[in-house]
């Protein structure tokens, strides 16, 4: 490990972390802007040109707000919960490839991969971290000493673990085709054909489970405001609330990047046509942006599910379907050989 290696690594860590933070900040603005335009409103447009400075204003506002810690909360866990959520959501970004190895126009002596690290167990690393995200929510609900928080936290954790199964099993089909858990290898394998064409059922299960995993509409029951006030973060204010808010968007960003990486060829260009002269990183960014937009679009298109419907859907429809997908992929691969 040379000095240059350390330098490159540190720069990569800094740039990618900063980029995720920036995307999260501007996702909060995009959410309000897109929501506004879907409802024929303008959305925030007072702070800076087109409201572009709104996220900064919001961040500062939240920072200067009083932090109300209610009586009888478990102070340590109460403080820990938002931190766990944030770390779990942000750290997953370490293994997603943003582009092919590049030497930055000859700036570096040899090409470096455009990701923090290509680990052999890339997909499992992300799943392991996202399974930690459950703790943030369940502990927030439990430590707050509030009935709404507890119910919201419980509901949310039961929802997340149910859909984590479908999410985890839906990607097995992709792994069977790529023969590797490394996300870099998965992307390289899709140079010819994106996996979404070979794994349509797996992709549908993945993307629906992704909505449930990130607690977004139509599955945003943990914070179903007519029933539960604000769910698990009812008692949170100031920067702690802000961390929950950021981790929700970071989780959305991560799951979109995973959908792109696993099913839509990551940084690869169109199948058969190549990159059309557009840098691979932009292909990646564009595809992720589409999925992020999908999250916002669906929010204003579909109504919320009832909780029993949600659980039935997870356990009685998606779990068997994801096993069926494994079966079909297995049969297909055996027959084609």
């Amino acid at each position: 490990m040379s000095v240059l290696w350390w330098l490159v690594t540190l720069v990569k860590v800094g740039v990618i972390f900063g980029a995720v933070l920036g995307v999260v900040a501007y996702m909060t603005l995009a959410e309000r802007k897109v929501s506004g335009h879907i409802q024929l409103r303008l959305g925030p447009n007072r702070v800076g040109p087109f409201g572009l400075l709104q996220p900064i204003a919001d961040g500062l506002k939240l920072m200067f707000k009083e932090d109300i810690i209610p009586d009888h909360v478990d102070k340590v866990i109460y403080l820990l919960a938002p931190a766990i959520s944030t770390v779990a959501a942000f750290a997953a970004y370490a293994v997603i490839p943003l582009g092919p190895p590049t030497d930055f126009f000859g700036l570096l002596p040899e090409p470096v991969p455009l990701q923090i690290a290509d680990v052999n167990i890339g997909i499992l690393y992300i799943f392991a971290l996202s399974s930690m995200g459950v703790y943030g929510i369940v502990l927030a609900g439990w430590s707050s000493n509030n009935k709404y928080s507890l119910l919201g936290g419980l509901r949310s954790s039961a929802q997340m673990i149910s859909y984590e199964l479908s999410l985890g099993m839906s990607v097995v089909g992709v792994l069977m085709m790529s023969g590797s858990l490394s996300l870099t290898r998965v992307v390289e394998d899709q140079a010819g054909l994106w996996y979404v064409f070979l794994q349509p059922l797996g992709f549908i299960i993945f993307i629906i489970a992704a909505f449930a995993e990130t607690n977004r509409l139509p599955f945003d029951l943990p914070e179903a405001e007519p029933e539960l006030v604000a769910g698990y973060h009812t008692e949170y204010s100031s920067m702690k609330f802000s961390l929950f808010f950021m981790s929700e968007y970071a989780a959305m960003f991560t799951i979109s990047a995973m959908a792109v990486t696993l099913y839509f060829g990551g940084w690869q260009g169109l199948p058969g046509l190549g990159t059309l002269g557009i840098p691979p990183v932009l292909w990646f960014v564009g595809k992720v942006a589409f999925f992020l937009f999908l999250f916002l679009w669906v929010r204003w298109t579909l109504p919320r599910f009832r909780y029993d419907q949600l659980m039935n859907l997870g356990w009685k429809v998606f779990l068997p379907l994801s096993l069926l997908n494994v079966l079909l992929t297995g049969l297909g691969l055996v027959l084609l050989r």
Partner: protein
């Protein structure tokens, strides 16, 4: 540097394991247990057993401990903190602990005496240790693997039978 990381993670694992058994608030105990699993996973990474590290976090920290926290929801924490703790199984615990210590010492002695006879480390490369784990599991240890499914089946039926009365209510 490798030694530094090993001792860092090992110390972390031991300290958080001690906190698991010494804290009075059960929820804190459970969280320290999660932390212990994390440090153990980090040690697995140092040993190049990445797949085991991932499964350690995914299954132990991410699934089993979530079940634990659900169960702890039943416990009234302030009340449990006031209960005077008794230690009636002291002798039994001591005997079992001694037995376990001897077993570990025996294995350690065996490996120290003949380090060369150990199986070679998992092959390094793009596939890494997931593949070597899989090869062993699906060829040599196929029967135990299939038996695991029977074990899981028994656990599933057992859980449902126990909860049946409550479900029907």
């Amino acid at each position: 540097m490798e030694q530094f990381f090993f001792f860092l993670f090992a110390a972390g694992a031991v300290i958080s394991a001690l906190l698991v058994i010494s804290r009075r608030n059960v929820m804190h105990c459970a969280l320290f247990l999660v932390l212990t699993f994390f440090f153990v996973a980090a040690i697995f990474v140092l040993l190049k057993a990445e797949f085991l590290a991932a499964v350690q976090v995914l299954v132990y920290a991410g699934a089993i401990m979530v079940l634990f926290t659900f169960v702890i929801f039943l416990v009234h924490i302030p009340r449990t903190e006031k209960i005077r703790q008794t230690f009636r199984q002291k002798n039994l615990a001591l005997a079992l602990g001694l037995l376990l210590g001897l077993e570990v010492a025996y294995i350690l002695y065996g490996t120290m005496a003949a380090p060369a006879s150990l199986p070679a480390a998992a092959p390094v490369g793009a596939v890494g240790n997931t593949e070597s784990f899989g090869v062993a599991l699906f060829t040599r240890f196929l029967f135990p693997f299939e038996v695991v499914s029977v074990l899981l089946l028994a656990a599933m039926i057992g859980a449902i039978v126990l909860a049946k009365k409550e479900i029907d209510r």
